[in-house]
């Protein structure tokens, strides 16, 4: 039953994928190669003097205990962002899928946050949670919670996780909703006739059938947490207090873009690139086996 489309012309398929390849080369391979090259250089901020220093940048990096600490923080951050992002959006999608009246309004509202740039999302949340003037802070103080993320590292972490997750929920939600809608009604009805309740139907039928979507989102969300969240951090905690939210990608951004240290920053981004490549390989080799297509 497999459909096969065969191109008659030899060059047409190449032409058709060419734009995608070109974009990937220009925006991914070229910068990646440059990052690797720069990671061996020591340069002043203006690029006036360049020295080849071999692995010196990496040696400095791994001698810095704060850089190693940053690995732990990144791990915690990514697990929290990817985990809670997926769970919350799955719940929201399951609920939105059952709504009959006003479904479009719910869905639109849930997709909305994706249009907000991460830095703006960060500012919004930082404002609501601002230690003295934030509205949420005010409510928390009434409840007896001492909310002060400029000193308390755990609270700062919580804040950046909330901002990062909120921004990503819409994306996850869209995929889960599409996944839910493609589950054949007959399967669920058959289970209902056999006497399975809503919870049982969810765990035994819906969730396994959603596993390809979940797996895809897991990969995407981990990549998101590792790479795309520096805007949130920069707009809120700037890595503080005392390095509690200093995730790897923020340090890359800070050292390279803000402080003009291209060599050190490139070395960090090369390290980051290898971490994400390894993580993705692991995900595909070990987790994908458990996915039921």
């Amino acid at each position: 039953m497999e459909k096969r489309v065969v191109f008659r012309s030899a060059w047409l398929p190449y032409l058709l994928v060419a734009p995608q390849i070109a974009i990937t080369v220009v925006f991914f391979f070229w910068p990646a190669v440059q990052a690797i090259w720069y990671s061996f250089l020591l340069q002043d901020a203006f690029g006036l003097k360049t020295q080849f220093v071999g692995l010196q940048n990496f040696v400095t990096l791994f001698h810095d205990p704060h850089y190693l600490q940053s690995f732990k923080i990144t791990a915690v951050f990514s697990v929290l962002v990817a985990g809670s992002g997926i769970v919350i959006s799955l719940v929201l999608a399951a609920m939105a899928d059952r709504v009959i009246r006003g479904a479009l309004a719910y869905k639109t509202l849930l997709i909305w946050p994706y249009a907000v740039a991460p830095a703006i999302a960060g500012v919004l949340w930082a404002f609501m949670f601002a230690p003295s003037i934030g509205i949420v802070t005010y409510a928390l103080k009434k409840m007896g919670v001492d909310w002060n993320w400029v000193v308390n590292g755990e609270q700062a972490m919580l804040l950046v996780v909330i901002a990062a997750v909120w921004n990503q929920i819409s994306y996850n939600f869209l995929f889960f909703l599409a996944g839910l809608q493609s589950i054949p009604r007959s399967l669920i009805e058959a289970a209902a006739i056999d006497g399975a309740g809503p919870t049982r139907r969810f765990w035994s039928i819906v969730l396994p059938l959603l596993s390809p979507t979940t797996f895809f989102l897991l990969v995407i969300n981990i990549v998101y947490a590792f790479f795309a969240t520096f805007g949130v951090i920069d707009a809120t905690t700037q890595g503080g207090p005392a390095g509690a939210t200093q995730i790897l990608v923020y340090k890359v951004f800070y050292d390279g873009v803000k402080a003009g240290d291209l060599g050190g920053s490139s070395a960090q981004s090369v390290v980051l690139m290898f971490i994400v490549i390894t993580l993705t390989v692991i995900q595909f080799r070990f987790i994908e086996r458990r996915v039921q297509y």
């Binding site: 203006f46 020295q51 003295s132 000193v151 005392a242 050292d255 803000k258």
Partner: protein, 465 residues
């Protein structure tokens, strides 16, 4: 992917636009017999200060016909510097650029990209008189021979702001803020007892609490005259003064006397809203605080420890200077010199000082302002000037000029946060900050060392390509 596509589209659209702009520029040039020389000037002043720059430039453009300065707001200080890094790499640097004090070492190290102001002015035949400038301001932007490398433009220094209403409520004298840090706790206790939610807080913590505290007590921040004397400076601010000071702040933090508002200037809002009764902040915050605060507040000299024999010495300047970029034509250099000469005029300076709250950079501008009676109605403006002029600057108080200063500041604030969170003792935190900062300094040192054998080799290979 979507964002990438948008960026691509924007880039494609920009190409014909830029081309159209060029032909338009050519046309106008052809029409007039003598077109004014255009000078690109990048700055970091937004809001009221940005409007003030625009007005200043408009006045200059109207005053003569040969030079036209085009002022462009490029974003906050760090963004301007970042844009400059990129522009120099692409060989598209503007003529003049406003760079904050943290970038001074970067600019000085970039010998091949920058045109020193003194040379620019000498070549144009209108040299600046060095002794016309306020000493600590001029010292900071001069080379070891005392020649001005950049034109100090907007400078400020930390002062103490206090809520007079809160002082009255607490039974304190609203006309006299605590003069020393030893008198401070009683005042802090009193305002808290009188119902203030927060007593003392600060903006820009590293600048106020560490860098300026050192200079104010004539204590070092780094070797080599705080880096003013060379790139091989190393941090050494882990002094007896700092250990005592940070320990004191830590105990104040625990007692609720001192409140941490994070990095940057978030503390300003906390003072302006009436939440915090005392604030250490830049003298240039005055206008903004005046606008936002609905209560009576005073400006006082930064407190000090009176058992340090040299205290109070003088505080350091913060703010920015105008740098002239190299690689321009002779005509352009002359045009730049004209604008610089205009900016250094006493009346222009005095106007800038009075409208923005920045410290006057020339003695003449200060005297002009004093004569006009401005300080009688604006006593706050004078506190900062007096603090800077208190004594002749020493090796420890002329200024701090270090590479990677932005990151060093972040490290200091990072370590201070660890102290407040009770995760490090003051002495450990200070030692750690010094050690971490020195790693960066040695890196900066290596990256900017004048070309030796190695660099020469690198040049040969690149030429072969």
């Amino acid at each position: 992917m979507f964002r990438v596509a948008i960026a691509l589209m924007a880039a494609l659209l920009a190409v014909p636009l830029a081309a159209a702009e060029k032909t338009a520029a050519k046309k106008t040039a052809a029409h007039k017999t003598v077109a004014p020389t255009q000078i690109q000037f990048w700055h970091a002043m937004s809001g009221a200060r940005g409007a003030e720059i625009d007005a200043l430039v408009a006045r200059f453009n109207a005053s003569q016909k040969k030079v036209r300065v085009v002022a462009t707001y490029k974003g906050p200080y760090d963004v301007v510097e970042r844009e400059l890094f990129a522009a120099v790499r692409d060989k598209k640097a503007p003529h003049l650029v406003q760079i904050y004090e943290l970038g001074t070492a970067d600019m000085i190290a970039a010998r091949d990209a920058v045109k020193p102001i003194w040379r620019l002015m000498v070549e144009a035949g209108t040299p600046l008189k060095h002794d016309a400038f306020v000493p600590p301001v001029a010292a900071y932007f001069s080379d070891s021979k005392g020649r001005l490398l950049a034109l100090p433009f907007n400078t400020s220094t930390p002062v103490l702001y206090y809520n007079k209403d809160a002082f009255r409520k607490a039974g304190l004298d609203p006309e006299h803020a605590p003069k020393t840090w030893y008198q401070m706790p009683q005042a802090l206790r009193a305002v808290l007892d009188a119902g203030a939610k927060c007593a003392l807080t600060t903006t820009w913590p590293s600048w106020v609490l560490v860098e300026n505290m050192g200079a104010w007590h004539n204590q070092p921040f780094a070797t080599e005259d705080n880096g003013m004397d060379g790139n091989d400076a190393r941090l050494n601010f882990n002094t007896r003064l700092m250990v005592r000071w940070v320990s004191m702040l830590a105990s104040w933090y625990k007692a609720g006397y001192f409140s941490w508002s994070g990095r940057g200037n978030a503390a300003e809002t906390r003072f302006a809203s009436g939440e915090c009764a005392l604030l250490t902040a830049s003298s240039s915050s005055y206008a903004e605080l005046r606008r936002a605060a609905r209560f009576d507040f005073g400006v006082a000299q930064l407190p000090y420890y009176d058992d340090f024999p040299d205290a109070p010495q003088n505080t350091l300047i913060g703010g920015a200077a105008l740098w002239a970029m190299g690689g321009k034509t002779r005509v352009e250099y002359r045009a730049m010199a004209k604008f610089i000469a205009y900016l250094a005029q006493p009346d222009v300076q005095a106007h800038w000082h009075q409208t923005t709250g920045y410290v006057p950079i020339t003695k003449a501008a200060y005297e002009l302002t004093e004569k006009s009676g401005f300080y009688l109605s604006h006593p706050g403006h004078q506190v900062a000037v007096r603090q800077l002029l208190l004594r002749n600057p020493t090796r420890e108080s002329k200024g701090i000029r270090l590479g990677h200063f932005l990151q060093i500041r972040a490290i200091i604030e990072d370590e201070l946060e660890a102290v407040w969170a009770d995760r490090a003792t003051p002495i450990d935190a200070l030692n750690a900050a010094v050690e971490r900062g020195n790693t960066l300094l040695s890196q900066f040192d290596r990256a900017t060392k004048p070309a030796k054998k190695k660099a020469a080799k690198g040049r040969k290979t690149s030429a072969a390509k």
